[in-house]
Symmetry: C2
Subunit: 284 residues, 2 copies
Amino acid sequence: MLTSGNISKLRRLLKNIRKKDAVIGLVPTMGALHDGHISLVRQAKKDCDYVVVTIFVNPTQFCVGEDFNKYPRTLAQDKKLLISAGADMLFIPRTTQMYHHDNSVYVDEGDLSRGLCGAVRPGHFKGVCTVVAKLFNIITPDIAYFGQKDYQQVCVIKRMVRDLDFSVSVKVCPTVREDDSLAMSSRNRYLSSQERAKAVILSRALMAGRSMINNGEVSVHKVTGAMRDIVSRCEDVKIDYLEIRTADNLQELSRISGNVVLLGAVKIGSTRLIDNILVKARKG
Amino acid sequence: MLTSGNISKLRRLLKNIRKKDAVIGLVPTMGALHDGHISLVRQAKKDCDYVVVTIFVNPTQFCVGEDFNKYPRTLAQDKKLLISAGADMLFIPRTTQMYHHDNSVYVDEGDLSRGLCGAVRPGHFKGVCTVVAKLFNIITPDIAYFGQKDYQQVCVIKRMVRDLDFSVSVKVCPTVREDDSLAMSSRNRYLSSQERAKAVILSRALMAGRSMINNGEVSVHKVTGAMRDIVSRCEDVKIDYLEIRTADNLQELSRISGNVVLLGAVKIGSTRLIDNILVKARKG
Protein backbone atom coordinates (compact mmCIF):
# COMPACT_ATOMS: atom_id res chain seq x y z
CA MET A 1 0.00 0.00 0.00
CA LEU A 2 1.52 3.28 -1.15
CA THR A 3 1.42 5.76 1.70
CA SER A 4 1.99 9.50 1.36
CA GLY A 5 0.98 12.82 2.81
CA ASN A 6 2.25 14.79 -0.16
CA ILE A 7 -0.43 16.21 -2.46
CA SER A 8 1.83 16.76 -5.49
CA LYS A 9 3.24 13.26 -5.29
CA LEU A 10 -0.26 11.83 -4.99
CA ARG A 11 -1.44 13.75 -8.04
CA ARG A 12 1.47 12.46 -10.12
CA LEU A 13 0.84 8.87 -9.10
CA LEU A 14 -2.89 9.10 -9.74
CA LYS A 15 -2.37 10.77 -13.12
CA ASN A 16 -0.47 7.71 -14.30
CA ILE A 17 -3.10 5.38 -12.91
CA ARG A 18 -5.87 7.32 -14.58
CA LYS A 19 -4.10 7.09 -17.93
CA LYS A 20 -4.63 3.34 -17.80
CA ASP A 21 -8.39 4.02 -17.67
CA ALA A 22 -8.49 2.64 -14.14
CA VAL A 23 -11.64 3.27 -12.12
CA ILE A 24 -10.51 5.06 -8.94
CA GLY A 25 -12.37 4.66 -5.65
CA LEU A 26 -12.02 7.00 -2.67
CA VAL A 27 -12.77 6.13 0.95
CA PRO A 28 -12.32 9.30 3.03
CA THR A 29 -11.90 8.64 6.76
CA MET A 30 -10.62 10.26 9.93
CA GLY A 31 -8.80 7.06 10.91
CA ALA A 32 -9.50 5.06 14.08
CA LEU A 33 -10.81 2.52 11.63
CA HIS A 34 -13.40 -0.11 12.45
CA ASP A 35 -15.34 -2.70 10.47
CA GLY A 36 -17.65 0.03 9.13
CA HIS A 37 -14.73 1.75 7.39
CA ILE A 38 -13.32 -1.58 6.23
CA SER A 39 -16.66 -2.52 4.67
CA LEU A 40 -16.35 0.64 2.55
CA VAL A 41 -12.85 -0.35 1.44
CA ARG A 42 -14.02 -3.86 0.56
CA GLN A 43 -16.94 -2.50 -1.47
CA ALA A 44 -14.54 -0.10 -3.24
CA LYS A 45 -12.23 -3.01 -4.06
CA LYS A 46 -15.17 -4.80 -5.68
CA ASP A 47 -16.16 -1.80 -7.81
CA CYS A 48 -12.84 -0.14 -8.65
CA ASP A 49 -9.39 -0.85 -10.08
CA TYR A 50 -7.60 1.36 -7.59
CA VAL A 51 -8.69 2.28 -4.09
CA VAL A 52 -7.42 5.36 -2.27
CA VAL A 53 -8.15 5.67 1.44
CA THR A 54 -7.55 8.98 3.19
CA ILE A 55 -6.97 9.46 6.90
CA PHE A 56 -7.26 13.06 7.98
CA VAL A 57 -8.71 14.28 11.25
CA ASN A 58 -10.11 17.44 9.69
CA PRO A 59 -9.97 20.33 12.17
CA THR A 60 -12.53 22.48 10.30
CA GLN A 61 -15.36 20.02 10.92
CA PHE A 62 -14.93 20.06 14.69
CA CYS A 63 -16.67 22.85 16.57
CA VAL A 64 -15.29 24.74 19.53
CA GLY A 65 -15.28 22.48 22.58
CA GLU A 66 -15.60 19.28 20.58
CA ASP A 67 -13.25 16.31 20.63
CA PHE A 68 -10.70 17.28 17.95
CA ASN A 69 -7.73 16.93 20.28
CA LYS A 70 -8.80 13.68 21.85
CA TYR A 71 -10.15 12.11 18.65
CA PRO A 72 -8.58 8.61 18.56
CA ARG A 73 -5.47 8.25 16.41
CA THR A 74 -4.56 4.59 15.79
CA LEU A 75 -2.42 4.79 12.67
CA ALA A 76 -0.36 1.60 13.02
CA GLN A 77 -3.49 -0.48 13.48
CA ASP A 78 -5.31 1.44 10.70
CA LYS A 79 -2.54 0.61 8.23
CA LYS A 80 -2.69 -3.09 9.02
CA LEU A 81 -6.46 -3.14 8.52
CA LEU A 82 -6.20 -1.26 5.23
CA ILE A 83 -3.48 -3.52 3.85
CA SER A 84 -5.49 -6.60 4.69
CA ALA A 85 -8.59 -5.05 3.09
CA GLY A 86 -6.59 -4.42 -0.08
CA ALA A 87 -6.37 -0.61 -0.17
CA ASP A 88 -3.94 0.49 -2.89
CA MET A 89 -3.03 3.88 -1.54
CA LEU A 90 -3.23 5.69 1.79
CA PHE A 91 -3.24 9.49 1.71
CA ILE A 92 -2.46 10.84 5.13
CA PRO A 93 -1.70 14.56 4.91
CA ARG A 94 -0.63 16.86 7.69
CA THR A 95 -2.96 19.73 8.56
CA THR A 96 -0.46 22.19 7.06
CA GLN A 97 -0.68 20.32 3.74
CA MET A 98 -4.44 20.68 3.71
CA TYR A 99 -4.89 24.21 5.10
CA HIS A 100 -2.78 27.32 4.58
CA HIS A 101 -2.49 29.70 7.53
CA ASP A 102 -4.60 32.22 5.59
CA ASN A 103 -7.08 29.69 4.21
CA SER A 104 -10.16 31.64 3.20
CA VAL A 105 -12.27 29.55 0.82
CA TYR A 106 -14.96 27.20 2.06
CA VAL A 107 -17.78 25.18 0.61
CA ASP A 108 -21.05 25.30 2.49
CA GLU A 109 -24.46 23.75 2.14
CA GLY A 110 -27.38 25.84 3.30
CA ASP A 111 -30.41 23.57 3.50
CA LEU A 112 -29.92 19.89 4.38
CA SER A 113 -27.10 20.75 6.78
CA ARG A 114 -29.07 23.15 8.93
CA GLY A 115 -31.09 20.92 11.27
CA LEU A 116 -30.31 17.65 13.08
CA CYS A 117 -26.54 17.49 13.75
CA GLY A 118 -26.09 20.87 12.06
CA ALA A 119 -28.21 22.53 14.73
CA VAL A 120 -25.81 21.64 17.54
CA ARG A 121 -22.61 21.51 15.49
CA PRO A 122 -22.39 24.92 13.77
CA GLY A 123 -19.81 24.88 10.99
CA HIS A 124 -19.49 21.09 11.06
CA PHE A 125 -20.91 20.47 7.58
CA LYS A 126 -19.07 23.47 6.16
CA GLY A 127 -15.87 21.75 7.29
CA VAL A 128 -17.05 18.42 5.89
CA CYS A 129 -18.02 19.91 2.50
CA THR A 130 -14.76 21.81 2.26
CA VAL A 131 -12.49 18.89 3.04
CA VAL A 132 -14.43 16.48 0.83
CA ALA A 133 -14.32 18.99 -2.05
CA LYS A 134 -10.56 19.23 -1.53
CA LEU A 135 -10.17 15.43 -1.50
CA PHE A 136 -12.31 15.14 -4.64
CA ASN A 137 -10.08 17.69 -6.37
CA ILE A 138 -6.85 16.04 -5.23
CA ILE A 139 -7.85 12.45 -5.95
CA THR A 140 -10.54 12.92 -8.65
CA PRO A 141 -12.18 9.60 -7.84
CA ASP A 142 -14.81 7.98 -10.03
CA ILE A 143 -16.66 6.65 -6.99
CA ALA A 144 -16.53 7.90 -3.38
CA TYR A 145 -17.71 5.72 -0.50
CA PHE A 146 -19.51 6.90 2.62
CA GLY A 147 -21.22 5.03 5.42
CA GLN A 148 -24.95 5.32 5.97
CA LYS A 149 -24.27 5.83 9.67
CA ASP A 150 -23.54 9.50 8.88
CA TYR A 151 -26.81 9.88 7.01
CA GLN A 152 -27.07 13.65 7.08
CA GLN A 153 -23.46 13.86 5.87
CA VAL A 154 -24.30 11.58 2.96
CA CYS A 155 -27.25 13.79 1.99
CA VAL A 156 -25.09 16.94 2.19
CA ILE A 157 -22.25 15.39 0.16
CA LYS A 158 -24.65 14.16 -2.51
CA ARG A 159 -26.10 17.66 -2.74
CA MET A 160 -22.60 19.12 -3.03
CA VAL A 161 -21.75 16.73 -5.84
CA ARG A 162 -24.91 17.75 -7.65
CA ASP A 163 -24.67 21.49 -7.08
CA LEU A 164 -20.95 21.87 -7.79
CA ASP A 165 -21.01 19.37 -10.68
CA PHE A 166 -18.38 17.06 -9.29
CA SER A 167 -17.86 14.15 -11.67
CA VAL A 168 -18.04 11.46 -8.99
CA SER A 169 -20.60 8.86 -7.94
CA VAL A 170 -21.40 8.75 -4.26
CA LYS A 171 -21.93 5.21 -3.00
CA VAL A 172 -23.51 4.73 0.40
CA CYS A 173 -22.78 1.49 2.28
CA PRO A 174 -24.92 0.06 5.09
CA THR A 175 -24.15 0.82 8.69
CA VAL A 176 -22.09 -1.94 10.30
CA ARG A 177 -23.29 -2.85 13.78
CA GLU A 178 -21.91 -4.59 16.85
CA ASP A 179 -23.61 -7.84 17.92
CA ASP A 180 -26.01 -5.93 20.16
CA SER A 181 -26.90 -3.56 17.25
CA LEU A 182 -24.85 -0.53 18.36
CA ALA A 183 -23.70 1.27 15.21
CA MET A 184 -19.93 1.06 14.86
CA SER A 185 -18.24 4.41 15.38
CA SER A 186 -14.72 5.57 16.18
CA ARG A 187 -16.28 7.46 19.06
CA ASN A 188 -17.50 4.22 20.70
CA ARG A 189 -13.92 3.99 22.04
CA TYR A 190 -14.73 6.87 24.36
CA LEU A 191 -17.39 4.86 26.20
CA SER A 192 -16.75 3.31 29.60
CA SER A 193 -18.09 -0.23 29.96
CA GLN A 194 -21.13 1.11 31.80
CA GLU A 195 -21.74 3.69 29.08
CA ARG A 196 -21.16 1.08 26.38
CA ALA A 197 -23.95 -1.05 27.87
CA LYS A 198 -26.33 1.91 27.76
CA ALA A 199 -25.33 3.03 24.23
CA VAL A 200 -27.39 0.29 22.61
CA ILE A 201 -30.58 2.13 23.57
CA LEU A 202 -30.28 4.45 20.55
CA SER A 203 -30.43 1.69 17.95
CA ARG A 204 -33.13 -0.09 20.00
CA ALA A 205 -35.29 3.03 19.95
CA LEU A 206 -34.84 3.45 16.19
CA MET A 207 -35.71 -0.22 15.63
CA ALA A 208 -38.81 0.15 17.77
CA GLY A 209 -39.79 3.14 15.64
CA ARG A 210 -39.26 1.08 12.51
CA SER A 211 -41.49 -1.69 13.87
CA MET A 212 -44.29 0.78 14.51
CA ILE A 213 -44.07 2.10 10.95
CA ASN A 214 -43.90 -1.43 9.56
CA ASN A 215 -47.08 -2.12 11.51
CA GLY A 216 -48.82 0.78 9.83
CA GLU A 217 -48.31 3.69 12.20
CA VAL A 218 -48.33 6.97 10.24
CA SER A 219 -48.18 9.50 13.06
CA VAL A 220 -44.77 11.19 13.33
CA HIS A 221 -45.73 12.34 16.79
CA LYS A 222 -46.54 8.82 18.02
CA VAL A 223 -43.43 7.19 16.60
CA THR A 224 -41.00 9.87 17.79
CA GLY A 225 -42.80 9.88 21.15
CA ALA A 226 -42.31 6.13 21.51
CA MET A 227 -38.63 6.42 20.57
CA ARG A 228 -38.15 9.23 23.08
CA ASP A 229 -39.83 7.15 25.79
CA ILE A 230 -37.46 4.26 25.19
CA VAL A 231 -34.34 6.42 25.37
CA SER A 232 -35.63 8.48 28.29
CA ARG A 233 -36.03 5.38 30.41
CA CYS A 234 -32.27 4.89 30.21
CA GLU A 235 -30.56 6.97 32.89
CA ASP A 236 -27.60 9.12 31.85
CA VAL A 237 -28.53 9.07 28.16
CA LYS A 238 -29.45 12.54 26.96
CA ILE A 239 -31.44 12.91 23.76
CA ASP A 240 -30.12 15.46 21.29
CA TYR A 241 -32.73 14.64 18.66
CA LEU A 242 -34.94 11.77 17.54
CA GLU A 243 -36.65 12.58 14.27
CA ILE A 244 -38.34 11.20 11.20
CA ARG A 245 -37.52 12.81 7.87
CA THR A 246 -37.96 12.07 4.19
CA ALA A 247 -35.14 9.76 3.11
CA ASP A 248 -34.13 11.63 -0.02
CA ASN A 249 -33.92 15.22 1.20
CA LEU A 250 -34.38 15.21 4.97
CA GLN A 251 -37.60 17.20 4.89
CA GLU A 252 -39.92 17.13 7.89
CA LEU A 253 -43.12 15.16 7.48
CA SER A 254 -46.65 15.73 8.65
CA ARG A 255 -47.53 12.07 8.14
CA ILE A 256 -45.28 9.07 7.57
CA SER A 257 -45.32 7.80 3.99
CA GLY A 258 -42.85 6.70 1.35
CA ASN A 259 -39.17 6.32 2.12
CA VAL A 260 -38.31 7.82 5.46
CA VAL A 261 -35.31 7.84 7.73
CA LEU A 262 -35.42 7.67 11.52
CA LEU A 263 -32.48 9.61 12.89
CA GLY A 264 -31.19 9.98 16.40
CA ALA A 265 -28.36 11.59 18.32
CA VAL A 266 -27.73 11.08 22.01
CA LYS A 267 -25.11 12.08 24.51
CA ILE A 268 -23.77 9.54 26.97
CA GLY A 269 -21.43 11.19 29.40
CA SER A 270 -19.31 13.40 27.16
CA THR A 271 -19.69 11.12 24.13
CA ARG A 272 -22.11 12.04 21.35
CA LEU A 273 -23.42 9.15 19.26
CA ILE A 274 -25.61 9.15 16.16
CA ASP A 275 -27.52 6.48 14.30
CA ASN A 276 -30.31 6.12 11.76
CA ILE A 277 -32.51 3.56 10.04
CA LEU A 278 -34.19 3.74 6.66
CA VAL A 279 -37.79 2.56 6.48
CA LYS A 280 -40.16 2.21 3.58
CA ALA A 281 -43.58 3.06 4.93
CA ARG A 282 -46.56 1.05 3.81
CA LYS A 283 -48.73 2.80 1.28
CA GLY A 284 -51.27 4.88 3.16
CA MET B 1 -16.74 25.24 -33.16
CA LEU B 2 -18.73 22.68 -31.23
CA THR B 3 -21.55 24.42 -29.40
CA SER B 4 -23.61 22.88 -26.62
CA GLY B 5 -25.46 23.72 -23.46
CA ASN B 6 -25.61 20.13 -22.28
CA ILE B 7 -23.30 19.25 -19.40
CA SER B 8 -23.35 15.47 -19.93
CA LYS B 9 -22.60 15.83 -23.63
CA LEU B 10 -19.77 18.22 -22.87
CA ARG B 11 -18.26 15.82 -20.34
CA ARG B 12 -18.33 12.97 -22.84
CA LEU B 13 -16.65 15.06 -25.54
CA LEU B 14 -13.99 16.35 -23.18
CA LYS B 15 -13.28 12.89 -21.80
CA ASN B 16 -12.29 11.74 -25.27
CA ILE B 17 -10.17 14.83 -25.83
CA ARG B 18 -8.40 14.36 -22.52
CA LYS B 19 -7.56 10.76 -23.41
CA LYS B 20 -5.38 12.11 -26.21
CA ASP B 21 -3.37 13.95 -23.54
CA ALA B 22 -4.58 17.27 -24.93
CA VAL B 23 -3.99 20.39 -22.82
CA ILE B 24 -7.41 21.95 -22.27
CA GLY B 25 -7.87 25.69 -21.85
CA LEU B 26 -10.96 27.36 -20.41
CA VAL B 27 -12.07 30.94 -21.02
CA PRO B 28 -15.16 31.60 -18.87
CA THR B 29 -17.21 34.61 -19.99
CA MET B 30 -20.64 36.17 -19.65
CA GLY B 31 -20.73 36.87 -23.41
CA ALA B 32 -21.07 40.34 -24.95
CA LEU B 33 -17.53 39.63 -26.08
CA HIS B 34 -14.97 42.32 -26.85
CA ASP B 35 -11.26 42.35 -27.69
CA GLY B 36 -10.42 41.71 -24.04
CA HIS B 37 -12.19 38.37 -24.12
CA ILE B 38 -10.76 37.54 -27.53
CA SER B 39 -7.23 38.19 -26.28
CA LEU B 40 -7.86 35.47 -23.66
CA VAL B 41 -9.01 33.05 -26.36
CA ARG B 42 -5.96 33.84 -28.50
CA GLN B 43 -3.63 33.29 -25.55
CA ALA B 44 -5.40 30.01 -24.76
CA LYS B 45 -4.95 28.91 -28.37
CA LYS B 46 -1.21 29.53 -28.05
CA ASP B 47 -0.91 27.51 -24.82
CA CYS B 48 -3.44 24.72 -25.25
CA ASP B 49 -4.51 21.98 -27.64
CA TYR B 50 -8.20 22.53 -27.07
CA VAL B 51 -9.93 25.73 -26.02
CA VAL B 52 -13.35 25.77 -24.38
CA VAL B 53 -15.13 29.11 -24.05
CA THR B 54 -18.18 29.38 -21.83
CA ILE B 55 -20.89 32.00 -22.10
CA PHE B 56 -23.16 32.11 -19.09
CA VAL B 57 -24.67 35.21 -17.56
CA ASN B 58 -24.48 33.84 -14.04
CA PRO B 59 -27.44 35.06 -11.98
CA THR B 60 -25.83 34.29 -8.60
CA GLN B 61 -23.08 36.86 -9.09
CA PHE B 62 -25.51 39.72 -9.61
CA CYS B 63 -26.83 41.44 -6.52
CA VAL B 64 -30.37 42.68 -6.01
CA GLY B 65 -30.95 45.77 -8.13
CA GLU B 66 -27.99 45.09 -10.41
CA ASP B 67 -28.04 44.71 -14.18
CA PHE B 68 -28.69 40.97 -14.58
CA ASN B 69 -31.76 41.45 -16.75
CA LYS B 70 -30.28 44.12 -18.97
CA TYR B 71 -26.79 42.59 -19.20
CA PRO B 72 -26.00 42.62 -22.95
CA ARG B 73 -26.64 39.35 -24.81
CA THR B 74 -25.02 39.32 -28.27
CA LEU B 75 -24.75 35.63 -29.03
CA ALA B 76 -24.65 35.69 -32.84
CA GLN B 77 -21.81 38.21 -32.84
CA ASP B 78 -20.05 36.35 -29.99
CA LYS B 79 -20.04 33.12 -31.99
CA LYS B 80 -18.51 34.82 -35.02
CA LEU B 81 -15.75 36.32 -32.90
CA LEU B 82 -15.01 33.00 -31.20
CA ILE B 83 -14.87 31.08 -34.47
CA SER B 84 -12.45 33.59 -35.95
CA ALA B 85 -10.33 33.45 -32.76
CA GLY B 86 -10.16 29.66 -33.09
CA ALA B 87 -12.19 28.51 -30.06
CA ASP B 88 -12.78 24.76 -30.28
CA MET B 89 -15.87 24.51 -28.13
CA LEU B 90 -18.54 26.88 -26.84
CA PHE B 91 -20.42 25.83 -23.72
CA ILE B 92 -23.53 27.90 -23.35
CA PRO B 93 -25.79 26.38 -20.71
CA ARG B 94 -29.23 27.52 -19.66
CA THR B 95 -29.66 28.68 -16.08
CA THR B 96 -31.69 25.54 -15.35
CA GLN B 97 -28.71 23.40 -16.45
CA MET B 98 -26.44 25.21 -14.02
CA TYR B 99 -28.74 25.65 -11.01
CA HIS B 100 -31.40 23.36 -9.60
CA HIS B 101 -34.46 25.01 -8.09
CA ASP B 102 -33.27 23.85 -4.64
CA ASN B 103 -29.59 24.63 -5.18
CA SER B 104 -28.02 24.87 -1.75
CA VAL B 105 -24.23 24.52 -2.07
CA TYR B 106 -22.00 27.53 -2.59
CA VAL B 107 -18.31 28.30 -2.54
CA ASP B 108 -17.29 31.48 -0.76
CA GLU B 109 -14.07 33.34 -0.07
CA GLY B 110 -13.91 35.24 3.20
CA ASP B 111 -10.88 37.52 3.01
CA LEU B 112 -9.83 38.95 -0.38
CA SER B 113 -13.45 39.26 -1.47
CA ARG B 114 -14.63 41.40 1.41
CA GLY B 115 -13.47 44.94 0.51
CA LEU B 116 -13.34 46.86 -2.80
CA CYS B 117 -16.08 45.53 -5.09
CA GLY B 118 -17.15 43.03 -2.43
CA ALA B 119 -18.12 45.88 -0.12
CA VAL B 120 -20.81 47.21 -2.46
CA ARG B 121 -21.66 43.93 -4.18
CA PRO B 122 -22.58 41.53 -1.35
CA GLY B 123 -22.67 37.94 -2.58
CA HIS B 124 -20.98 38.81 -5.88
CA PHE B 125 -17.80 36.83 -5.27
CA LYS B 126 -19.73 33.94 -3.73
CA GLY B 127 -21.58 33.71 -7.03
CA VAL B 128 -18.31 34.00 -8.97
CA CYS B 129 -16.54 31.32 -6.90
CA THR B 130 -19.49 28.98 -7.17
CA VAL B 131 -19.92 29.24 -10.91
CA VAL B 132 -16.18 29.02 -11.60
CA ALA B 133 -15.92 25.95 -9.33
CA LYS B 134 -18.77 24.40 -11.30
CA LEU B 135 -17.11 25.20 -14.63
CA PHE B 136 -13.81 23.78 -13.38
CA ASN B 137 -15.58 20.57 -12.40
CA ILE B 138 -17.49 20.30 -15.67
CA ILE B 139 -14.61 21.15 -18.00
CA THR B 140 -11.56 20.17 -15.84
CA PRO B 141 -9.26 22.54 -17.71
CA ASP B 142 -5.48 22.48 -17.36
CA ILE B 143 -5.33 26.27 -17.67
CA ALA B 144 -8.08 28.84 -17.06
CA TYR B 145 -7.83 32.38 -18.44
CA PHE B 146 -9.02 35.55 -16.74
CA GLY B 147 -8.53 39.21 -17.58
CA GLN B 148 -6.55 41.47 -15.27
CA LYS B 149 -9.36 44.03 -15.57
CA ASP B 150 -11.24 42.07 -12.92
CA TYR B 151 -8.26 42.11 -10.58
CA GLN B 152 -10.06 41.29 -7.35
CA GLN B 153 -11.83 38.43 -9.09
CA VAL B 154 -8.47 37.07 -10.22
CA CYS B 155 -7.15 37.17 -6.65
CA VAL B 156 -10.26 35.44 -5.33
CA ILE B 157 -10.18 32.73 -8.01
CA LYS B 158 -6.47 32.07 -7.41
CA ARG B 159 -7.19 31.73 -3.70
CA MET B 160 -10.05 29.34 -4.44
CA VAL B 161 -7.81 27.20 -6.64
CA ARG B 162 -5.23 27.08 -3.86
CA ASP B 163 -7.62 26.45 -0.97
CA LEU B 164 -9.84 23.88 -2.70
CA ASP B 165 -6.89 22.17 -4.45
CA PHE B 166 -8.22 22.57 -7.96
CA SER B 167 -5.73 21.11 -10.41
CA VAL B 168 -5.76 24.10 -12.77
CA SER B 169 -3.35 26.93 -13.57
CA VAL B 170 -4.86 30.38 -13.53
CA LYS B 171 -3.41 32.60 -16.25
CA VAL B 172 -4.06 36.32 -16.08
CA CYS B 173 -3.96 38.33 -19.32
CA PRO B 174 -3.41 42.10 -19.54
CA THR B 175 -6.36 44.46 -19.67
CA VAL B 176 -7.18 45.44 -23.25
CA ARG B 177 -7.91 49.16 -23.65
CA GLU B 178 -9.64 51.42 -26.12
CA ASP B 179 -7.48 54.01 -27.94
CA ASP B 180 -8.13 56.58 -25.22
CA SER B 181 -7.15 54.03 -22.51
CA LEU B 182 -10.64 53.11 -21.26
CA ALA B 183 -10.53 49.47 -20.17
CA MET B 184 -12.67 47.32 -22.43
CA SER B 185 -15.79 46.01 -20.69
CA SER B 186 -19.11 44.58 -21.78
CA ARG B 187 -20.68 47.27 -19.61
CA ASN B 188 -19.16 50.06 -21.72
CA ARG B 189 -22.10 49.39 -24.04
CA TYR B 190 -24.38 50.98 -21.45
CA LEU B 191 -22.65 54.37 -21.76
CA SER B 192 -24.21 57.24 -23.72
CA SER B 193 -21.71 59.13 -25.90
CA GLN B 194 -21.45 61.83 -23.24
CA GLU B 195 -20.86 59.24 -20.54
CA ARG B 196 -18.39 57.41 -22.76
CA ALA B 197 -16.32 60.59 -23.06
CA LYS B 198 -16.22 60.93 -19.29
CA ALA B 199 -15.44 57.26 -18.62
CA VAL B 200 -11.80 57.68 -19.56
CA ILE B 201 -11.21 59.61 -16.33
CA LEU B 202 -10.88 56.39 -14.33
CA SER B 203 -7.89 55.03 -16.27
CA ARG B 204 -6.39 58.56 -16.40
CA ALA B 205 -6.53 58.82 -12.63
CA LEU B 206 -4.94 55.39 -12.19
CA MET B 207 -2.20 56.30 -14.65
CA ALA B 208 -1.55 59.55 -12.81
CA GLY B 209 -1.23 57.55 -9.61
CA ARG B 210 1.22 55.22 -11.32
CA SER B 211 3.32 58.19 -12.46
CA MET B 212 3.53 59.51 -8.91
CA ILE B 213 4.71 56.13 -7.63
CA ASN B 214 7.17 55.80 -10.50
CA ASN B 215 8.50 59.21 -9.47
CA GLY B 216 9.12 57.95 -5.95
CA GLU B 217 5.96 58.90 -4.04
CA VAL B 218 5.43 56.47 -1.17
CA SER B 219 2.44 58.03 0.56
CA VAL B 220 -0.78 56.08 0.02
CA HIS B 221 -2.70 59.12 1.20
CA LYS B 222 -1.09 61.46 -1.36
CA VAL B 223 -1.48 59.11 -4.31
CA THR B 224 -5.06 58.17 -3.58
CA GLY B 225 -5.80 61.84 -2.87
CA ALA B 226 -4.42 62.84 -6.26
CA MET B 227 -6.44 60.14 -8.00
CA ARG B 228 -9.61 61.20 -6.19
CA ASP B 229 -8.98 64.83 -7.19
CA ILE B 230 -8.73 63.89 -10.84
CA VAL B 231 -11.95 61.89 -10.86
CA SER B 232 -13.80 64.41 -8.70
CA ARG B 233 -13.16 67.17 -11.21
CA CYS B 234 -15.25 65.23 -13.72
CA GLU B 235 -18.92 65.99 -13.22
CA ASP B 236 -21.36 63.09 -12.99
CA VAL B 237 -18.64 60.54 -12.19
CA LYS B 238 -19.14 59.13 -8.72
CA ILE B 239 -16.24 57.43 -7.00
CA ASP B 240 -16.99 54.07 -5.43
CA TYR B 241 -13.38 53.44 -4.40
CA LEU B 242 -9.86 54.39 -5.42
CA GLU B 243 -7.32 52.36 -3.50
CA ILE B 244 -3.80 51.06 -3.38
CA ARG B 245 -3.29 47.48 -2.24
CA THR B 246 -0.54 44.89 -2.26
CA ALA B 247 -0.56 43.17 -5.63
CA ASP B 248 -0.43 39.60 -4.38
CA ASN B 249 -3.07 39.56 -1.67
CA LEU B 250 -4.89 42.90 -1.76
CA GLN B 251 -3.77 43.95 1.70
CA GLU B 252 -3.90 47.62 2.70
CA LEU B 253 -0.58 49.43 2.89
CA SER B 254 0.76 52.04 5.24
CA ARG B 255 3.49 53.01 2.78
CA ILE B 256 3.85 52.18 -0.90
CA SER B 257 6.54 49.60 -1.62
CA GLY B 258 6.98 46.44 -3.66
CA ASN B 259 4.34 45.29 -6.10
CA VAL B 260 1.13 47.22 -5.66
CA VAL B 261 -2.11 47.55 -7.53
CA LEU B 262 -4.09 50.75 -7.95
CA LEU B 263 -7.76 49.87 -8.14
CA GLY B 264 -10.75 52.01 -8.90
CA ALA B 265 -14.49 51.73 -9.33
CA VAL B 266 -16.74 54.58 -10.44
CA LYS B 267 -20.35 55.03 -11.33
CA ILE B 268 -21.29 57.04 -14.39
CA GLY B 269 -25.06 57.41 -14.57
CA SER B 270 -26.28 53.92 -13.75
CA THR B 271 -23.17 52.21 -15.13
CA ARG B 272 -20.52 50.92 -12.76
CA LEU B 273 -17.00 50.62 -14.21
CA ILE B 274 -13.84 49.19 -12.69
CA ASP B 275 -10.18 49.35 -13.64
CA ASN B 276 -6.74 48.75 -12.14
CA ILE B 277 -3.03 49.12 -12.85
CA LEU B 278 -0.13 47.14 -11.44
CA VAL B 279 2.91 49.15 -10.38
CA LYS B 280 6.25 48.04 -9.06
CA ALA B 281 7.29 50.69 -6.57
CA ARG B 282 10.92 51.79 -6.47
CA LYS B 283 12.85 50.37 -3.57
CA GLY B 284 12.44 52.70 -0.61
